[in-house]
């Protein structure tokens, strides 16, 4: 069985290019993130992060502190 635990998927309210730029600042300061992207084309504005060290809750807290809402995408 293949392990996908290193892919974090979050539903967010980051809807604009400006929001994406804020995320860029936040996530670039976070060690352990290999790759990330935000899908602005979808209604869930999915934030997808590749990381082997960070947990979903840490990212949720980080975004909440900057005024964004997000939760695990199920």
């Amino acid at each position: 069985m293949e392990n996908f635990d290193h892919i974090l998927l979050l539903k967010t309210d980051c809807r604009t290019i400006a929001d994406k730029q804020v995320l860029q600042c936040l996530l670039s300061q976070q060690p352990g993130i290999e790759e990330w992207n935000l899908d602005l084309d979808d209604c869930d504005c999915v934030l997808r992060i590749i990381t082997y060290t960070i947990k979903n809750t840490q990212i949720i807290n980080l975004l909440n502190q900057s005024g964004y809402h997000c939760c695990e995408l199920v």
Binding site: I7, D39, D42, C43, D44, V46, R48
Partner: protein
């Protein structure tokens, strides 16, 4: 831990192509696709980074599959008529077996994903098709001409017939259904147009 499900991945690709053909690129979203496949949106995002990534990957994969089917038994050293006949046979079969693919590629070609389509075409088709054309020119079977001119005469009639067939009507709305007779009659005219006499 999630398991990679090959059948599910296949279903995702098939439904994505169908969705894009039916609703256009504008009406296509990851959420709609997940619903169509009866899977969670999260599962889709495991395999694909986003909507763009999904469309680009499917375009590239389908380009490879199409090339494998069409060029699989194609001999670039064949005579002009035999080689072209094989190309027509393979392309016709592929498009009849995969009715959505032709429309899918047409939509991709006229969208911002055009570059992915071109990359796929260049990697998979350009070399054998050009080599075959150069070989038949070198043997004096057809005259030297730009690849675009060759392609337009050699294949555009086939694609026009298939489009009429898929739309169920031809010029002026006349009902149309392709047959072997019509296909090979058109092929003979194409050969006549391109082949050197004597």
């Amino acid at each position: 831990m999630r398991a990679r499900d090959v059948d599910k991945e296949q279903l995702v690709k098939q439904k994505a192509i169908e969705g894009i053909v039916k609703h256009g690129l504008e009406g296509f979203s990851m959420n709609k696709l997940a619903k169509e496949c009866k899977i969670s949106v999260a599962t889709l995002y495991i395999y694909y980074k986003d909507r763009d990534d999904l469309i680009i990957k499917i375009t590239e994969e389908e380009g490879v599959k199409m090339a494998e089917t069409i060029l699989g038994d194609f001999d670039i050293e064949a005579s002009f008529e035999d080689g072209l006949r094989m190309q027509w046979k393979n392309r016709f079969k592929y498009m009849m077996d995969n009715p959505y693919i032709t429309v899918f590629f047409e939509q991709i070609r006229s969208s911002s994903y055009h570059a992915s389509f071109l990359k796929s075409f260049k990697e998979n088709f350009e070399a054998p098709v050009t080599e075959f054309m150069n070989n038949v020119v070198a043997r004096g079977e057809i005259r030297k001409m730009p690849l675009e001119v060759y392609w337009s005469i050699a294949f555009a009639p086939l694609y026009a017939l298939i489009r009429f067939h898929n739309e169920g009507q031809s010029v002026g709305g006349v009902p149309f259904k392709i047959s072997d007779e019509i296909l090979w009659e058109t092929f003979d005219l194409v050969v006549k147009a391109l082949k050197n006499v004597g």
